[in-house]
Structure formats: C-alpha cells, structure tokens
Symmetry: C2
Subunit: 659 residues, 2 copies
C-alpha cells in the first residue's frame, strides 16, 4: 500500500488536508484498499479523483485518512456542484472551468479563489456521489450489500465501517473570525460574509435571521415595556398593542424575504439553486434514466412515495398528536388531583406533591419529543425523498407540528378552556424564561465547559507522548474528531420558532415577552457563535437560498396569532364591559375584526414584492442571457444532449412535495 500513497504524493506536492475520514478500528485491509482506490480513481473509471493520505496516530493505527484534491480537480468540482461566483463585471454567474478567466480574483496560481469551506463542500459532494458500479457488496463485508447506483459512503456509514467524515478547521481563519464575531465588546452587526465564508450559507443565513429577528422584535419590546411599567390594563391600549404586533409580524416576515434575497444573491446561492439536481445520498431506487437530465441514476416511483406519506406518515403523525393531547389531559387531571389532595391534608408532603405532576409532565414531554423525533427521522428517510431539501422539508413539518402542540397545547387549554388569564400569564412567563435559560445552558455553555475539560486532558496526554512527526496536524485531527457534531440549524430555528410563538400567540396577555425575547436573542447570538466556533466540529457548508420551510412556519404562526389574540381580547373583562347587554354583539365584533386583520395581512403579503427590484432585474438579466444562449446554439437543441456532465435542480415550489 505504501507505494501507492507515495505515488499519489507526487501528483500534488503541496497536499492540503481538507476533509477527515475516520474508519472503524480494525477495518479489513482489502476494504481500505478498495475504498481508497475508488476515491483516487479517475472520474472516467467511476472514481472521485481525489487525493487521500493516511494519518499516523500515536498508536500507529491507520484508521484516519485525510482527503484533499488538486487545484484543477476542485475547479472542475466547483463546476459540477454549480457554484456561483462573482464575475469581473460584478454580475454573479455559475462557475465553469472554460469561462474561469472571466471571474473575479481568478488566477491559475491563486489557490484562494475557492474558499476552504467551498473546497470541503465540493469534496463532500464528490465523496457522497461515489456510487457502486457492478460491486455486489463492499469487499471484505459480504453483509454490506451494494447495487448499481448506491452511494458507497452511505453504505459504509450505515454498516459502521466508516465512523465519520468531517471537514477540518482552519485555525488561523477561525481565530480571525472569532475575534470579529464575538471577541470584542462592540455594538454592531455580525460579520455575516465572513461567517458565510467559513461555515457556509445555511449557518450564515441562520445567524442573519437571528440578528434580523432580534432587531425586528425591538419595536414590540419598546412598546411592550410601558404596559408592564405602568400596569396598563385598558382595553384600547391592549388592542392597539395587539394590532400593531399582528401587522408588524407580517411586515417583518415579508421584509425578511427581501433581505434574504439580497444576501443570497451576493453569496451566489440565489442563482445556484437551479444548478443541480443530484439525488440525496440516502436516496435509493433502481437504476434508471432521469427524465430531466437523461442521465443514469436511481429512480423511485413518486406514487409509492405519496402512498407512504399519506397512508403511513400522516396517520402516524395524527396519532402522535392525539396521544400528546391525551397526555396533557392526564397532566391536568393529575394536577387537579394533587390540588384536591393538598387541600384535604395540608401536610408538607402534600405541598410537595403539588410539584409532582408538573415534573412528571415535563419529563414525559421530553421523552415524547425525543422518541417522536427519532420516529419522524426514520419515517421521512423511509419516504425516500429524491432531493435533500424535500427530505428536510418533510422532516421539519413533522417535527414542527408535534413541537407546536407540545409547547402550546397546555397554554391553549389554560386560555380557552379554563379561561384563567392570570394562570396563562404566569405559565407563559415561566415557560418562556425557563426554556430560554435552560436552552442557552444546555446548548452551548455546558458543552463548552465539557469540551474545555476534555481538551485539557487531551493536551496532557499528547505532551506525555512527545511525538515529533507533524505534531500539530495530528493533534488537531485528534482533538476535532472528539468534538460533538453539529446536526444543522434545525434546533436553532425551532427555538426561535417557539419563541416567536410565545411572543405573538398571547402577546396581548404578556407584552413583556418581546423584551425577554430580545434579551435572550442577544445572548443567543453569542452563545451560538461560541457553540459553532468552540464546541462542535466544523460543519460542511451547505448552499441555500432561503430559510425554506421555516418561512412558511413563521407565517403560519403569525396567522394563528391573529386568531388567538382576537379571542383573548374578546375575552378580556374590559372588552366585555363594552358590550354589557349582548355577548353576541361582542363575538360578532371580534370575528369581524379578526377577518379584517387576516384580510389586511394577506393583502400586505401580496403587495410587498418578495425580492427587491434590483435583484429582480439581475435575475431577469441572467434568465434573459440564458435563453439567448440557447437560441444562439441550435446544434445544442438538436443533439449532443448526452454529452452533459453537470446537472440542474428543479426549483419549482410546487415540486417540493411531489418529487
């Protein structure tokens, strides 16, 4: 084996490690040989044409490999994944190797044309799309079946032969980023472009949204403070606050779309989306012809997928929702029982018993959330979505509905069944504040502390070994491979989504919620930044053009909040006092106001354009050029379609749930 590595070394003298592959200890020699050969092999032979190097660890094991690629290979890979870069004329265009000279900052000797995270993304893409040809199984592991078109890396991962793949940190860059991001005490925006360069668009967009959302909440918070300070309980003031909130939430969500379009245009992902349509690595099916690209790839009947969604997933989710409501009712019964017991006995034991139902309920909810999350992931994976985005959307929708119910069902019950506004305000405040404190602690501070302790231990061990070969790299890889894995922005968005719920759903009952949300989000930015830079492995960059299904989720929440706020205001004693004779008039008035507000919301969402005018023009220009190019190339329309090398992703919104 050793010879082949050295022969590879000569291909590229300055091998730059980008991605780490950790195989299971004791992986069979023939498996390693086959796998590395496939990685190194030429594209024409079905390989990934990357570079790979073993990392010699302290105990001489050879289970960690460093993957890199030649500069040329990365440029070709950038074309394959459809990377969009800025041209010399300041327009954004899909990078192609043949037109490389027209791109800004491109020079044949400029290794920094692609950022490190882009290189790592390209390598990940190439590794994941390394597919089985005619192998029936992974050599050395007859139980790990393969069929043509199956992603090799995926099979190795599911069989435990491959432990993990992760990109390496760039210590210099990270240090700089940490400094500008949260290293100095200053008032200012986050360095979103730098975050995007280092962590990729998905994470930068999350931080952008977090920042934007915090700013957007400030007016609500500012208006909310006097309500608390002066204890305003007058009907007209509450109504004004609620109305402002409801319209404001529509405005901020619409404006976010525009800001998001500006950012992602600058990053190139607004255009990138349509560039490729690779099936997600977990997608399986019989090898067939893709009707769009005409290329051979796994194909899976969309009718089967629809059946799985509507006949299995949907009923399952409904059952879970029902079960969750059932548990909530048991909790309320238990609480009632504990209250009765306490009033009967009045002992210290009975007063302790008062807390038991809440504790049990909290524990049960946590358990349910975890089991459900696991089930949702399994189900969505089993639905076998072709595109990663489609998979994510279905998963998010499933988890969202369940979490929404778990979080807010008890508040709805208190508000609209028990009619206890005092208890509602109290539970709302308790839930909001405790969940925020717990989240920040469990999410970043605790892991950070654990990580620090672990690092100290590691360092000591390292120093005692006193290794001299390329110590720093080995050290880096060893410490990073022990770090936790960041599983995407899902939980972070979910937290914001639930926070938005607390702020908007019952905003007229507890105007101070916005204040707490703003305070929380300011510290959240720092703790999330800390989490990204210090606690977790570097995640792979994921290009994205918007916050996807979360936009819809936030919009739905803001529609629901119109309904809840109108009902709450209608139930308030002040409003009831206005209609002393007729409850009916009251309800009709409330219903009328609600419908009016909803209508205004929809009109506003319709009238405010989703993209600023200059972005619209830039997009139209690109489309125009693309169509012109097609016109100028008649040979292309007629023939040569089989020469296609790269690929496009369908971006029609309606495709989201059908493909």
């Amino acid at each position: 084996m050793k010879e082949s590595w050295s022969s590879l070394d000569t291909l590229e003298t300055n091998f730059r490690p980008l991605v780490v592959i950790e195989l299971a200890k004791g992986t069979k020699e023939e498996t390693i040989e086959w796998f590395t050969k496939r990685i190194v092999d030429k594209k024409a032979n079905g390989g990934a044409q990357l570079l790979i190097k073993p990392l010699v660890t302290e105990n001489g094991d050879e289970n960690i490999y460093l993957v890199g690629a030649s500069h040329l290979r990365l440029l070709l890979g950038a074309e394959t994944v459809g990377l969009v870069k800025e041209c010399n004329d300041n327009s954004m265009r899909a990078f192609t190797y043949s037109s490389r000279k027209t791109f800004k900052d491109f020079a044949d000797d400029n290794q920094n044309f692609l950022t490190m995270s882009e290189c790592q993304y390209i390598i990940k893409h190439e590794l994941e799309n390394l597919r089985a040809k005619d192998e029936k199984m992974i050599p050395g592991y007859p139980q790990a079946k393969l069929y043509p078109g199956k992603s090799i890396v995926r099979r190795l991962l599911t069989n435990g032969i491959l432990v993990q793949i992760f990109p390496l940190h760039d210590r210099e860059e990270l240090k700089k980023l940490r400094h500008t991001w949260y290293g100095q005490v200053k008032i200012g925006y986050q360095p979103l472009d730098e975050i995007r360069c280092y962590f990729g668009e998905t994470i930068a967009l999350y931080f952008g949204f977090l920042e934007y959302f915090t700013f957007a909440l400030i007016p609500m918070a500012v208006i909310g403070i006097p309500y608390y300070v002066f204890a305003w309980e007058d009907y007209d003031k509450y109504v004004m606050f609620a109305t402002f909130n409801l319209l404001w939430s529509t405005v901020i969500l619409e404006v976010w779309k525009r800001i998001c379009a500006v950012m992602t245009y600058r990053w190139g992902t607004l255009l990138m989306k349509r560039q490729f349509e690779e099936p997600r690595p977990g997608f399986h099916g019989v090898l067939g012809i893709n009707p769009v690209t005409g290329r051979e790839e796994p194909v899976y009947s969309s009718i089967k997928r629809q059946l799985r969604i509507y006949l299995v997933s949907v009923p399952f989710v409904c059952l879970c929702l029902y079960f969750s409501l059932y548990v909530m009712m048991i909790y309320f019964n238990l609480e009632q029982w504990a209250l009765d017991y306490h009033e009967e006995n009045k002992s210290s034991f009975s007063s302790l018993m008062l807390y038991v139902p809440s504790i049990i309920y909290a524990v049960v909810i946590e358990i349910m959330n975890r089991i459900y999350r696991y089930a949702a992931e399994f189900l969505t994976s089993w639905e076998n979505h072709r595109l990663e985005s489609s998979y994510q959307n279905h998963l998010i929708l499933k988890v969202l509905v369940f979490n929404f119910l778990n979080c807010f069902a008890s508040l709805f019950y208190i508000a609209f069944v028990l009619f206890d506004m005092k208890l509602l305000r109290q539970s709302l405040a308790t839930l909001l504040i405790t969940s925020q404190i717990l989240n920040q602690f469990a999410e970043s501070l605790l892991p950070y502390w654990l990580q620090k302790r672990h690092m100290k231990k590691m360092k000591k061990r390292m120093h005692s070994l006193k290794m001299d070969t390329d110590l720093s790299l080995v050290e880096q890889v060893n410490s990073e491979k022990e770090m936790g894995t960041y599983f995407g922005t899902f939980d972070d968005y979910l937290e914001l989504f639930l926070q938005f719920g607390y702020v908007s759903l019952f905003s007229c009952v507890y105007p101070l919620a916005a204040v707490f949300a703003v305070l929380n989000n300011i510290t959240e930015i720092y703790s999330d930044a800390l989490k990204m830079c210090r606690v977790y492995k570097r995640p792979f960059a994921e290009p994205t053009a918007n916050i996807g299904v979360w936009q819809l989720a936030f919009e739905t929440m803001s529609v629901i909040s119109v309904v809840t706020n109108c009902i709450l205001i209608g139930m308030s004693p002040q409003v009831n006092a206005l209609f002393p004779d007729s409850k009916m008039d009251l309800i009709l008035t409330v219903a009328l106001v609600e419908h009016l507000l909803l209508a205004i919301k929809f009109v506003m969402a319709f009238v405010i354009p989703d993209k600023p005018r200059d972005i619209q023009i830039k997009l139209a220009k690109l489309e125009f050029e693309s169509l012109e190019a097609l016109k100028k190339q008649p040979e292309w329309t007629a023939c040569g379609r089989d020469a296609v090398e790269s690929c496009a992703r369908i971006q029609t919104k309606s495709l989201l749930f059908t493909l």
Copy 2:
C-alpha cells in the same frame, strides 16, 4: 407611388393578405407615403420589412391597405416574438430560424408551418413595435408629436389617422371550424386545438375554462336538485351541501391550474411567456437603457408608477366603492318609501310605484358601471405599465372590485342586515336568471341579428356595383371592417366570475343556482362561439399561459364564500334550534367550523401541485438544457451581449405589480 408597389410585388409573387389597415378618409399623401415606407423598410433602417398593398374599393378611395409578409420574414418574426413550436423529438422549443430544421412539419416550401393567426400575430407585433427614430412629428400632421421610441401605430391611432387594424378571416378555415364547433348537434368536447389555431390561445383558454367550469359545476347541480325537488330544509343536509360546495370549489380551481398547464404546454405558451419583454405599445417614457436586455427602449420610473397607483388609483377606487354603497342605501330607502306609500294608498298607481326604485337602481348601476369602466381604463393607462399583462391585471382588479360590490352588495345587505332569507333567495334567483338571459341576448343574439341585416344590405349594394376585380377579397374586407370589434375575454370572464359568485356565495340558500349556471353555460358556449365566428371581426391571437388574475379572483371568491355560507348556516332557524340556550355557543361553533374549513382549503391548495408531474419534468428539462447551453458558451457570458436581437419577458409573479 404605383411603381413602388409593383416593385414590392415582385419580391413576393404570391402576396397573401393577412392584416387590414384602414386609414382615415382623406389622409394626406405624404403621410401615407411615409407610413408605408416605414412598413416596407428594412429592419436595419428601423422599418418593419413587411409587404403592403392598397385595396381598391368601389369608389376608388385608397384608404384601405392589406399587409402581408414574405415567408422568410414571418419565420424571423416568429423567432422575435419567441414562438414555441413542437420539435421532431416531440418536445416544445422556442423557434429559431437557425434551428428551423429540427421543428416538426418544417419545410422551406411549407407555408403552413406557421398558422394564419400566428402570422397575423407576428405582423401585429411588428407593426406595433414600429417606433419613431428621429421624427419630431408625423409628416403632414404637425399636431401628432413623435419622440424617439414612440410607437408610430399608436400615435396614428390616437390621432385618428389610423382608423383600425384587424386580421382577415380565413373563410375556408372558419367554415370548417364552425362545423366542428357548433355546426352539428352532438355531445362532446369543443375542438379547443382548432379554436386555438384560429383564434389564438387567450380565446381558446377562455372556451376551455368555460367548458371545464361547466363540467365542474355538474356535481353541485346534481346534488342541488333534490334539495329543490324534496324541499329539504333540514340542517344536516344543508350543512353537507355547503361543505361539499366549499371544498369542491377549491378542488376545481386547483385542478384547473393543472389542466391549463397541460393545454398551454401543448400550445407552447407555457414556455413562451419568458421569451420576450417588449414594452406594451401604449407604454411611454424617455428613451433609456433596459437594465435587463441592455437595449434602448422607453424607460419609466417604477416609483412614479407606484405613487400614481397608491396615491391616485387606490383612493379613487375606494371613493367609487363608497359611492356605490351610498347609492345602494338610497335604493333600499326608496324601496321602503315606495312600500310605505303603497300600503298607505293602495292604488294602482302606488303598486306601479313599487317597481320604480328597482328600475331606477338598475339603470343607475348600469350607468355607474360604464362610467367606472371608462375611468378605470383611463387610470390604468395613466399608470403607464410597462407590460401588457401588468396593465391588464391592474385593470381587471379595479373593475372586478367594483363589479363585485355592485352585484353582491344588495344581496349581502339583505342577508346580513335585513336577515330576510326568503327575500334573499328570491333576489338571488331573479338576479341570476335575468342577468343570464339578458347577457346572452345582448352579447351575441342581438349583435348576430344586426350583423345579418347589415350583411344583407351590403351584399345588395355590392351586387348593384357589379365590380369584377378581385371581387371576393374586396367584398370580404368591406364586410369585415364593418363588423364589431371583440375587446377581449374580459367581459366573458367577468360574467363567469359573477355567476360563480351567485353559485357559491349563497349556495346553501339556493342550491338550484348551480343548475341554472350549468344550463346557462351550455348555451353560453354556443352563443359565444357564434359571437366569435359570426358577429365580430377576427381578433388578433394573443399567446397566454394561464387565465392570469382571474385565477386569483375565483380563488378569492371561494374564500369569501366560506365565510358567507358559514354565517348563513349559522343564521338558519334549524341550526338555531340546536342551540336553544345559548346564542354564544352557536356563534362560537360557526366560527370554529369556518376556521377549520378555511384551514382545509389552504392545506388543499398547498398540497395539490399546480402542474402535473410530466409537465414539471418537461419544464425542468428545458431549464436544464438552457443552463447547460449557457455553460457551454463561455464567450457568450464574457462578451457580445450587445449583439442581442430579441428579448425576454420577466415572468416572476412578484414582478406583476412592481414593474
């Protein structure tokens, strides 16, 4: 002059007249010379490069001209307008002259590759885009000012020098079409593809929608009949009928989008939309650079347009709506007064007086509608929209809102203020049936009869003149130029829209409405077909990919109908009897049901994909190829962008109201 005509004649020996231009009698010679020269002139010199021939009429006047074009010119024009045709491999592609060989049925000597209506559309497009260069005025008419970029034809029309431009009928084809369309008594679908070939996509799509809508109403009608026959007045049955109606209306509107996509893909217009972005002929502005295409064309600030819309048009519309409501209130007061007067006097004069308010109101409404329509057209034109579609959408929205109010305000008043269900049912039936009968009569039967009388006169006169040169053509032109002009599908859609309102808004009060609607629509198909073939001049074909803002209008109506039906059911005595103790419970239940129904509607609209899967794939394939073509042409991305000859239309939905 005569020489120049004959020299043109030699260019194309078999001149086929396609479009007729009628100039005002006594138009100055120099104007005619200049205008015809511009039409005949080479493209490079800013002309339209078409063929033109004077038509010698009975009294020797030379004010009617026939326009044609050489086969080559039409093919190049087809590329300019972005016509989409079927290729040899059954895919739809934008026609380009250089790739002409790959298109189905193309042969250099096949004059039928382009249909006659397509040729006429191309000629119209070329004529309308004949723009002034450095002329300061129309020669011979110093008051008709011109500036660079101004459409010449538009200026001639507004100054009355040009009376009209219209395409000629193809008598053979029309006869065939009439036969298959309504000539034989048979049960079957309309020949939509033939209609499209003859009249263009907009009209074919209207007839397609009319047919689809009629079929879609049949289930409602079938379910509605027993309610009438057995006089079912039970609560549960009414609820079921209303619920079915509400969900059904969502389904039919969603399914229509899919059917529409299939049709317009087959016709090529689904792809055509994005091909060009020519400003509408009425658009004016200073000559500038289009930021998308980089070409010189009139430019108008979108901020100015927004200001005009929001500061002038919107307040004006609101004022008109208020005025219309005010008139309605006067009507109800008058009616009350007439009723009181009749009860006081009980004379035959007083019983006659009972009808006076209705008659006055009907007349006033008709007058208001006409004045408002005129004002709306003026305002929308003054808003100076860049795209014809944008102009149409704004006009339709304005007229729609006003017509909706005029038609339904009195019904709403009867239902929700007077609470008189019997009167509501009666007014609904009267309004629906009389409006249908009147419409059919005024729209097609009356004009047809007038047309027939006129034709007879014409024929007599013709025969008395006994001309011998090319009699049939002169005869045809002379008879067609006297026919009425078809002003687009607007009124036809409006009629359907209001019908949909009668059927759905109060469906639970009058289930028989759907039956009348179905019966009306069946005859409507025939009378509209008669109207198109016999009464009006042939209209220019207008490519379109969907029914545009009407889809939104119908969807909005179906949302409003959920609200009205829920309220009506809630007000019914049967439902009230179910909640004997508490009005409050009743209203809350109704509100809950309403919100549930609305939620279901939105989920359904979201879940049903707008385009069938095979169309999605075909569109994705084309996009994929277009992007690939751009990739393959690096020289293109880098330079040569100024060589662009044709143009694209921005189709982003959000652009609709901003450009």
